[in-house]
């Protein structure tokens, strides 16, 4: 795992946001934007799977996963869905606006675990954002992996993120990409149905595969079951959890889930360690 801010910096350091300027703002869907941010101070360099706390000054702070290539250097990429006051303010930040960034926090997708194995990536909705850097990494180092399958679910075709990436991955002869939506207007030629329905036909050897899964918790529960039904051991399935992260360094306790603090110990967990907790209704 990469050292995160919680491990390498004193607390007062990680609690002070670094100013970043919005250098581009791209609309992905009706409610989702991607911001590219350049640092005005020391650069923040998140790895695939990690998150930053983004601060809309005067409004508040939210945890947002990195959605860009971690090799890109100091520029940050964050894809944000406008669901509340802070995310709406961030999504409305025009080019030139300044936001605060703390991080990076949490652990990363265990790409090293997947080297030499088949890689299955299952994303639902905005869950494709934290997975995009991992998929980009895998296709950029294609020789390191066996079969690469990317399975994407969304509400409607208009809610699909990163269409350019999806088309780019799809155009490769050495990666399988399958997309499904919950409903579509007439004329849609793709699949309609659950993302779990893509798993029986996905190209991977369950005996030698690793899966990365991100999406709504209920979706991840069913995806883990479907992958296990295909014979993939749950200790080789990794899921990214989301809770109410506030401090990012395991001090405030807002993101506690049973014995774990998501911001400090996660957000990426092995499914066999997390699914029992996910089934406890009170948590």
């Amino acid at each position: 795992m990469a050292a995160s801010a919680s491990a390498e910096a004193p607390l007062h350091g990680v609690m002070a946001p670094v100013l970043h300027r919005v250098v581009s703002r791209t609309r992905e869907t009706s409610d989702t934007w991607t911001l590219e941010l350049d640092p005005l101070g020391e650069a923040v360099r998140p790895r695939a799977g990690q998150f930053d706390m983004l601060y809309a000054f005067g409004v508040g702070e939210v945890p947002i996963s990195t959605s860009g290539d971690h090799e890109d250097g100091s520029r940050l990429t964050h894809t944000i869905r406008a669901v509340g006051a802070v995310t709406s303010a961030l999504c409305a930040s025009d080019e030139g606006a300044v936001v605060g960034v703390r991080g990076p926090f949490g652990n990363e997708w265990p790409l090293a675990e997947a080297v030499g194995r088949d890689l299955v990536v299952v994303a639902g909705g905005i869950g494709l954002a934290p997975l995009r850097p991992a998929v980009r990494h895998a296709v950029a180092r294609r020789e390191d992996y066996g079969a690469v399958s990317v399975l994407v679910g969304a509400r409607t075709p208009a809610d699909l993120l990163f269409l350019d990436d999806i088309e780019s991955w799809r155009s490769r002869l050495d990666a399988e990409v399958d997309v499904t939506v919950d409903a579509a207007p007439a004329g849609w030629r793709g699949r309609v149905g659950l993302v779990t329905e893509l798993i029986p036909g996905a190209v991977f050897d369950p005996a030698n595969a690793v899966a990365f899964v991100c999406g709504p918790e209920i979706m991840m529960t069913f995806v883990v079951r479907a992958l296990a039904d295909r014979g993939l051991a749950t200790d080789r399935i990794w899921i990214s959890m989301e809770r109410n992260m506030r401090c990012g360094v395991g001090h405030c306790g807002h993101c506690q889930l049973g014995p774990t603090l998501i911001c400090r110990d996660g957000p990426v967990y092995r499914a066999d360690e997390m699914t029992r907790l996910m089934e406890v209704r009170e948590l």
Partner: protein, 155 residues
């Protein structure tokens, strides 16, 4: 080249049936093809036929005055299209349209219904298998009712 009975036997819904049953079902079946956009069935029409998709994708469509056509589900290779042939009033509940070029096996549901009535063992066997198809579809539909991707955020 595989016979119709062999093709039918290799599909999940008919797998494991006795040879005599497969031969009987194959007697009610024929290979068919549909161009992209062509209708396999139309909502309200008599449901005397059902299909087993061999290649391509079929879109199930519903039409509403305010929202126009909506694809509510799709069927791919190995999937069954249609179960209304088993239940009164034997009419299609949706349009089934080829989303791309489709190769399928079409079954004479009315003929098979008659054979099921004569041979209740076969009828029960087919009813169990189509009930499983319906349960799978129902569970998937229930899950999609959750609108999990819509979600409610707070941040």
């Amino acid at each position: 080249m595989e016979s119709l009975a062999e093709l039918i036997a290799s599909s999940p819904v008919f797998a494991g049936l006795e040879d005599a049953d497969l031969a009987l079902i194959a007697g009610c079946a024929q290979n068919v093809g549909f161009e992209e956009g062509q209708l396999l069935s139309r909502e309200g029409d008599p449901a005397d036929t059902f299909f087993l998709v061999r290649r391509g994708r079929v879109a199930f469509e519903l039409h509403t005055p305010d929202r126009g056509g909506l694809v509510i589900d799709t069927a791919d290779a190995g999937d069954v299209v249609g179960w209304s042939w088993l239940f009164p009033p034997y009419r299609w509940h949706f349009d089934a349209r080829a989303a791309e070029g489709v190769r399928a096996i079409a079954f004479d549901g009315a003929c098979l219904r008659g054979k099921c009535a004569e041979d209740t063992r076969l009828g029960y066997e087919l009813m169990k298998r189509f009930a499983q198809v319906m349960i799978d579809r129902l569970q998937h539909t229930r899950f999609r009712l959750l609108d999990v991707y819509g979600g409610v955020g707070v941040g």
